[in-house]
């Protein structure tokens, strides 16, 4: 049964606290405020007791799936376990209570965390400078592209186009448009990698940049990346790396060393902070030295042993975020990096790749790899072989929920039909990977023997199969909308 809304539990006059009788006489607002400032309707907040409020939200939370509750192999999202020490450090009074407008003299500790984090990211990414401001990955993409644009304008021509492989993240073409460029898609080669011949024909002096995710969205490492960089740089085309999949290569390969000029980091993915409804993102952008003048304002600088915020940077693309970015996320990512150290980060990536390959090896008799090759930290398989039983990938994904597992990413990347994109991450044990494989195999068998069961799934969730069209078109997002609809 669906949980009641808190508004539906509400009864007039109920309260969570009893206040003592006030000695201050109450005043009539209309004696002091102008007519247009007075509220005309009821405030409309729910009225419940403390225990009702508590039960309501605890009950809701038990219906949620999250990484603290179970395996969450949502491909491309890096749903690794977030160590609780990150939270503990970020919640320290000095960090959580700091006002964003505290003058630098009163926030040297926070500035030091930010400065050290940007140095760590420079080291991990092989970059020369980092801005921590972007609010998440796509915002990082936009920031990076605006930096590239500023660089080309400085050289006399902003250029017109940005190249992307057809396996790229959906946010890439959107960011390209936002930055005032035209996205040009390059069809992947047979192996699912960037096709050098097609790339070469697409390159010309009107191309501002090429955006590449490496490993790409098929989980395959772009083995020709050095050649791609060399071709791009011949035309002054800037190499942008979407760092969504950085979890596969920390301490193993640095984007800056293989020719990338710009990279964004998803702190919330690779550096273990809660995301996907669990918390805000953070998408710092790293650049090579020639792009440093264009970084957003302000940048943190050290002078005579003191850290300060420098706004005097005439070539900067300007401010891209209120205040300084998602500071709490920065503290968590900083903690994660310090807890693991260089060796630990490298081991993290090695284990992420090992886990993905182990899971793939366990299920490969039942699901076909989207493109041939050795996957890195995630892999894409196709459910196409069950189509003749009338079973779609969506059915497989829904059935997984019955076993208490989150479904993988489905129908992405678009170049694999009936795609299932699975990313177990390094934090899963051998046992949990084996159990997930067992369930995937059981579902594959059901697809052969009892396809109807998959059409009807899920059975064990709080609500059954949802009407996806209705969910996308008939939007009732607030209590007010619901009341209006009922009328």
């Amino acid at each position: 049964m669906p949980e009641k809304l808190i508004f539906e539990i509400s009864k007039k006059g109920k309260a969570g606290a009893t206040l003592p009788h006030s000695e201050v006489p109450s005043l009539n607002p209309s004696d002091y405020l102008e007519e247009h400032l007075l509220r005309k309707n009821e405030i409309g907040l729910p009225e419940v007791s403390e225990v009702e409020a508590m039960r309501h939200f605890v009950n809701l939370s038990t219906k949620n799936h999250h990484v603290d509750k179970g395996f969450y192999p949502l491909g491309s999202c890096t749903m690794k376990y977030n160590p609780k020490i990150n939270e503990k450090i970020a919640m320290m009074d000095g960090f959580s209570g700091l006002h964003p407008l505290s003058p630098p003299d009163c926030s040297q500790g926070a500035l030091q965390i930010m400065r050290e984090l940007d140095q760590y990211l420079c080291e991990i990414g092989g970059m020369d400078a980092v801005t921590l401001q972007p609010a998440a990955g796509a915002h990082g993409e936009l920031t990076g592209l605006l930096i590239i644009r500023a660089h080309h304008i400085k050289n006399g021509n902003p250029r017109k186009k940005v190249l992307i492989p057809d396996s790229s993240h959906g946010t890439n073409p959107a960011s390209i448009n936002f930055a005032g460029y035209e996205p040009i898609q390059i069809q992947s080669g047979e192996g699912g990698l960037v096709d050098l011949a097609r790339l070469e024909t697409a390159l010309n002096p009107e191309v501002a940049a090429i955006m590449i995710t490496n490993p790409n969205t098929l989980g395959l490492f772009e083995k020709d990346i050095l050649k791609v960089s060399e071709l791009a740089h011949r035309y002054g085309v800037q190499m942008y790396m979407d760092g969504a999949n950085l979890n596969a290569c920390m301490g193993i390969v640095r984007p800056g060393d293989v020719g990338f000029d710009v990279v964004h980091f998803n702190l919330h993915k690779t550096f273990s902070t809660p995301h996907g409804g669990g918390g805000p993102g953070s998408g710092p952008v790293g650049v090579k030295a020639h792009l440093k003048p264009y970084l957003p304002l302000p940048v943190i600088e050290e002078k005579e042993g003191k850290l300060s915020l420098n706004y005097d940077r005439p070539e900067s693309i300007g401010k891209i975020q209120a205040f300084w970015g998602a500071f709490g996320v920065m503290v968590k990512a900083y903690t994660y990096i310090r807890m693991l150290g260089a060796e630990g980060l490298k081991k993290t990536s090695e284990d992420a790749v090992l886990n993905a390959n182990y899971l793939y090896a366990l299920i490969k008799e039942y699901y076909d790899l989207g493109y041939p090759g050795t996957p890195m930290h995630e892999f894409v398989v196709s459910g196409l072989r069950y189509r003749n039983k009338g079973v779609k990938t969506l059915d497989i994904a829904k059935r997984l929920l019955d076993f208490g597992y989150h479904a993988p990413t489905i129908y992405f990347p678009l170049i694999v039909s009936e795609a299932l994109m699975i990313e177990p991450t390094e934090t899963e044990s051998k046992d949990s990977i084996e159990d997930y494989a067992r369930v995937l195999i059981e579902i594959a068998r059901e697809a052969e023997t009892n396809p109807q069961k998959l059409h009807d799934a899920p059975f064990n969730t709080p609500v059954r199969r949802l009407d996806e069209r209705k969910a996308a078109t008939d939007l009732i997002l607030t209590w007010k909308d619901l009341k209006k609809n009922a009328k």
């Binding site: 969506l394 129908y411 678009l414 039909s417 996806e468 069209r469 996308a472 078109t473």
Partner: protein, 126 residues
């Protein structure tokens, strides 16, 4: 999967019903199955020109957003505005109620270059 014999097709999964100087255009049964539930259709206006294999609209489905390509060059004479309020008819009846535009064909020789039902069947592996 339905592939009616009286239509012509494109490799981008549109169908064409050419009749003299006019043509009706829609997406195939295969296309609607691949897209999943259609939730929004962005349509062009009557009187606008379309060019062969250039995008003239967008289909947003639960799985993906996809361009609609015009199989032929011509001028739009009618638009299926019912798709704006009930995009689901594209799934339910792709060759009938779910048609997208009617055009006046500019270049009749383009019609011959479209895929036959047999060619299209081969393309989608039926």
């Amino acid at each position: 999967m339905l592939i009616p014999d009286n239509l012509k097709y494109t490799k981008e999964h549109e169908w064409v019903k050419a009749d003299g100087g006019t043509a009706i255009i829609g997406i195939t049964d295969y296309a609607q199955q691949e897209l999943g539930d259609v939730v929004f259709v962005e349509l062009p206006g009557v009187g606008e020109s379309v060019e062969q294999m250039k995008a003239f609209g967008t289909i947003e489905a639960v799985k993906a957003v996809s361009d609609i390509f015009s199989p032929l060059t011509g001028k739009i004479t009618e638009v299926n505005t019912q798709l704006e309020s009930s995009p689901g008819i594209m799934n339910e009846d792709p060759y009938g109620e779910g048609w997208i535009i009617k055009i006046e064909i500019s270049n009749p020789s383009e019609v011959d270059k479209l895929l036959s039902p047999a060619d299209y069947k081969e393309l989608v592996g039926e």
